[in-house]
């Protein structure tokens, strides 16, 4: 049912799906309720088919802002027990609890859902016996998450960032919002997804958003370059485990922005680069830049139709494939930024807008917090 038993095999798998996406952000870092995002995604109900939905919320755990919030789903108690032992070995677990959810909604069957607020042991006497050294805390978290997701039957980490979390499952997104009691959270960025998978292999982990550290990605499309994106990432130590093409987008952002220190603009030009014809016409310096970018990161070009929204702690980025084969609309109103598959999904939340536009293919919409420091880190 939850497809946990099926771990990554030597051959790649991906789910094909059409979808609805939506995001709302307050550029001043002010937190607001889930009401708007739920309305927005519910208004695009036709774009999903009840086989997957989810939300990412930033700024929801100010009391644990310095800890990694691990959201984990388990197939059974045995896998939970085994994974918790593992977590105890590698992390200081400051707090753990069941992810709050209702028992009387339309969601009738779900995995065990738990969350843990942790930090890796500092290097010292309590450093666990390990085979990798000189890893940053982020790298350690990634390694351990990948290990759980590939090696622990029945356990799946679906969110591991700081002061953010992902809530997702099988169902319509608005039903999942009720199930996960999202009205109890307030966040400065909300991202939502409604899924229309075109095969029957649906499972809770396969819903969007996909998340790694503080990246959360929702995606409408089918990545025809998936086979090479996945192998390109393996060259850098990323193991794709989710049987879906969307996770490669999260990993590509992580590789380019966090590890290789590319700007968001540059990263989006890797994923949706200018055509060679356009590069030909650029001034010499720019021409060299884009030629080098395409030559070096060709394996990270995302081909096929997509509109994608990625969240991170300081903002959001929305991007279309370079020939714009899927819809994407952006809008601004005062401190609020909106991105969605359809304009109607924005208008239902905010009918009066300062500006509404349809970004061109390959043109990223990047919205950053005005002052990153404004994000509340304590209650």
């Amino acid at each position: 049912m939850f497809r946990f038993e099926k771990k990554a095999n030597p051959f790649y798998e991906k789910d094909v799906s059409g979808c609805a996406v939506s995001a709302i952000m307050n550029t001043k870092g002010r937190r607001f309720s889930s009401e708007g995002i739920v309305k927005s995604i519910a208004n695009q109900r036709d774009r999903s088919n009840g086989l997957g939905g989810g939300f990412a919320a930033y700024g929801i755990y100010p009391q644990f802002a310095e800890l990694y919030a691990l959201h984990i789903m388990y197939q059974n108690q045995a896998s939970a027990h085994k994974t918790e032992q593992y977590l105890d070995d590698y992390f200081q677990v400051e707090h753990k609890e069941v992810i709050p959810h209702r028992h009387d909604t339309v969601i009738s069957h779900h995995p065990f859902l738990r969350r843990y607020f942790v930090k890796p042991y500092p290097v010292g006497e309590k450093t666990p016996d390990r085979i990798f050294e000189r890893l940053s805390e982020d790298e350690l978290v990634i390694k351990n998450v990948m290990r759980i997701n590939t090696g622990f039957d029945g356990a799946f980490v679906f969110s591991c960032g700081k002061n953010m979390g992902v809530f997702k499952g099988v169902g319509y997104p608005e039903d999942l919002a009720v199930f996960f009691k999202l009205e109890e959270y307030s966040a400065y960025i909300w991202i939502a997804h409604g899924r229309f998978p075109t095969n029957s292999a649906v499972w809770w982990g396969g819903a969007h958003p996909f998340s790694l550290l503080d990246w959360a990605v929702v995606h409408n499309g089918e990545i025809s370059s998936y086979g090479i994106n996945k192998r390109f990432l393996e060259n850098f130590g990323y193991n794709c485990t989710l049987f879906t093409d969307t996770e490669v987008i999260a990993y590509i952002f992580d590789l380019l922005v966090r590890r290789h220190d590319l700007s968001f603009e540059m990263a989006s030009k890797v994923m949706a680069p200018p055509f060679w014809d356009e590069i030909e016409k650029m001034p010499d310096e720019e021409k060299e830049l884009y030629t080098t970018l395409r030559a070096t990161y060709g394996g990270a070009l995302l081909n096929g139709p997509f509109s994608v929204i990625a969240g991170f702690k300081n903002g959001i980025i929305a991007l279309n494939d370079r020939v714009k084969l899927r819809p994407l609309v952006a809008a601004r109103k005062d401190d609020f930024a909106y991105v969605a598959s359809e304009e109607a999904a924005i208008r239902i939340v905010q009918s009066e807008l300062d500006r509404v536009w349809s970004p061109a293919g390959g043109e990223p919409v990047i919205v950053m917090l005005e002052e990153p420091a404004a994000v509340p880190t304590a209650p």
């Binding site: 030597p10 051959f11 790649y12 798998e13 991906k14 789910d15 094909v16 799906s17 059409g18 075109t198 095969n199 499309g221 089918e222 025809s224 370059s225 998936y226 086979g227 090479i228 192998r231 390109f232 393996e234 060259n235 850098f236 130590g237 590890r259 290789h260 220190d261 590319l262 700007s263 540059m266 680069p273 055509f275 060679w276 014809d277 310096e285 060299e288 830049l289 030629t291 080098t292 970018l293 395409r294 030559a295 070096t296 990161y297 060709g298 394996g299 070009l301 995302l302 081909n303 096929g304 139709p305 370079r322 020939v323 084969l325």
Partner: protein, 506 residues
């Protein structure tokens, strides 16, 4: 002992009611298979001399000629085929090695024909290359692990610059074929077509004729174990330098161009005395191990002031993935892999037909090995050996090759009918010969035009197939084995190729 019954493999059939005894066939056949009898005013045939190259058939103005496999066949068995018996008799007669040319003609499994391509339906729109951009541009060479940028007063500029690269308008190049093994007119055709189409041609190991220096920027010069024609000017009259370690048609052995095929022009180009045999040793005698290869790679880089990528060409043999990995670690910017079906101008049949592994498997295991080791970006993979059409090419790219080399296909475009007699030096199509009477049959203007037609045709087909898969840039297919499915393959073969079976879903 009158044992021979093998002289005539082919039978020349002449329709006397059509033949006008014009003697075109007599003049066209360098093998002297057609004989004019002035007394009878008739043309007769000596079947034993026919190689089935179809030159006479193509040129006969009245279409009076036809070539058949001779009806006289050995009894034969499934095991003792005609060619097996013929070769034993030949060798008992002469005590020699059975020579042949072109690629392996034994019936090994062809994996290209057991791999199927994908296309988009509903969930992903296919792209029409006539309406939308479709990019085949390919960049060959070492790529950095990551890029660094500088921000100068709000203007972002590159801090990491690429080492020298080759830019191809389509992921195809012309394979190494030396001046000596083929004619100058063949070289001119290849060079001109490469230059015009924006790809590269390869000199092979016989040096670069002075008339071709103007094509420098589209020329890959080869350095092989005989070091023919290699000097500082040669190395620098190029876009890239290729060190040839092995050849798919004859892995592990060298080459031999007989003295009769070394006239003045070739002697000057190869820097050897006219009329002497040009011998390429089996190994490079300064490369007995991988660290020696590294020295040669860097000696060439020094000699060219680090302005040119250095390729290393190896034959696909059993350990190809670890050898290729070593080659990359020795500093090569691209590794060229020549498969079992790769061609040659002359090789012992026993080598050509029995040594090496198919290029399909070699590409797959080398690409996978490089990714496992995290070195895939450090070198491009160029595949060679037996590409017959654009589908073979696109499958090679999906398995992991950056580009492919065409040898035989290019020669066929120039007129070759694959009679496999290149080693005789009597090529009636003016390709694999140095006889001026024959070489003038190949007009480089027409030849280069035909090569460009071939490149154009294949490129259009590749674009159609890419668009069908919902991909608009070739780099999104490179190594993207999700778009391949295997049919009639064992599990182990599919595992090595890294592809699923036809019918398996994502």
């Amino acid at each position: 002992m009158a044992l021979k019954t093998y002289e005539s493999e082919f039978k020349i059939v002449r329709d006397d009611s059509k033949c006008i005894a014009c003697q075109v066939c007599v003049r066209q056949c360098a093998n002297n298979a057609h004989i004019y009898d002035a007394e009878d005013e008739k043309v007769y045939a000596d079947d034993s001399k026919c190689v089935n190259c179809h030159r006479c058939v193509s040129m006969c103005p009245t279409k009076a000629l036809h070539i058949e496999h001779t009806p006289l066949q050995f009894m034969g068995t499934a095991n003792w085929t005609s060619s097996a018996i013929r070769n034993v008799i030949k060798q008992a007669d002469t005590g020699g090695v059975v020579l042949t040319a072109m690629g392996c003609d034994k019936k090994y499994p062809n994996y290209w024909d057991r791999i199927l391509l994908n296309a988009s339906q509903v969930t992903n729109p296919s792209i029409d290359p006539l309406r939308e951009p479709m990019e085949l541009k390919t960049i060959i060479g070492k790529k950095p692990d990551k890029l660094e940028f500088e921000n100068k007063g709000g203007k972002v500029s590159l801090k990491t610059h690429l080492t020298p690269q080759l830019e191809l308008s389509t992921p195809i190049m012309f394979s190494a074929m030396s001046y000596g093994s083929i004619s100058l007119n063949a070289h001119k055709s290849l060079a001109r077509a490469a230059f015009e189409y924006g790809i590269y041609w390869n000199t092979g190991e016989g040096g670069l004729h002075k008339d071709l220096k103007k094509y420098k920027d589209r020329t890959i010069v080869q350095v092989a174990s005989g070091r023919f024609g290699v000097n500082s000017e040669y190395l620098n009259t190029s876009a890239a330098v290729e060190i040839k370690i092995g050849q798919g048609a004859k892995p592990g052995i060298g080459g031999h161009l007989p003295g009769e095929k070394v006239p003045e022009e070739i002697s000057v180009t190869r820097m050897i005395p006219a009329g002497t045999d040009a011998l390429s040793p089996a190994p490079h005698h300064d490369i007995y191990s991988i660290e020696d290869l590294k020295q040669l790679v860097y000696a060439i880089k020094e000699a060219t002031r680090y302005t040119k990528p250095v390729f290393v060409k190896i034959a696909a043999v059993h350990n190809v993935s670890s050898i290729a990995s070593g080659v990359v670690r020795a500093g090569a910017d691209a590794v060229v892999i020549d498969g079992l079906l790769g061609g040659t101008g002359a090789a012992p049949a026993v080598m050509r037909d029995n040594v090496g592994i198919p290029i399909e498997l070699a590409i797959a295991v080398v690409d996978a090995r490089f990714r496992d080791e995290g070195i895939r970006n450090q070198a491009s993979i160029i595949a060679a050996g037996g590409f017959r059409n654009s589908a073979d090419v696109i499958k090679a790219i999906a398995l992991g090759a950056d580009a492919v080399y065409l040898g035989t296909a290019a020669l066929v475009a120039l007129g070759c009918h694959v009679c496999q007699k290149c080693y005789t030096g009597k090529c009636n199509w003016g390709i694999a010969t140095q006889d001026p009477y024959l070489t003038k049959r190949l007009n480089p203007n027409i030849g280069s035009g035909r090569l460009m037609n071939l490149l154009r045709g294949w490129s259009i087909e590749i674009k159609e197939m890419l668009g069908g898969m919902g991909i608009n840039a070739i780099e999104s297919l490179r190594g993207n084995r999700e778009h391949l499915r295997g049919i009639d393959l064992h599990d182990k073969e599919r595992e090595l190729l890294g592809i699923k079976a036809a019918g398996e879903t994502w």
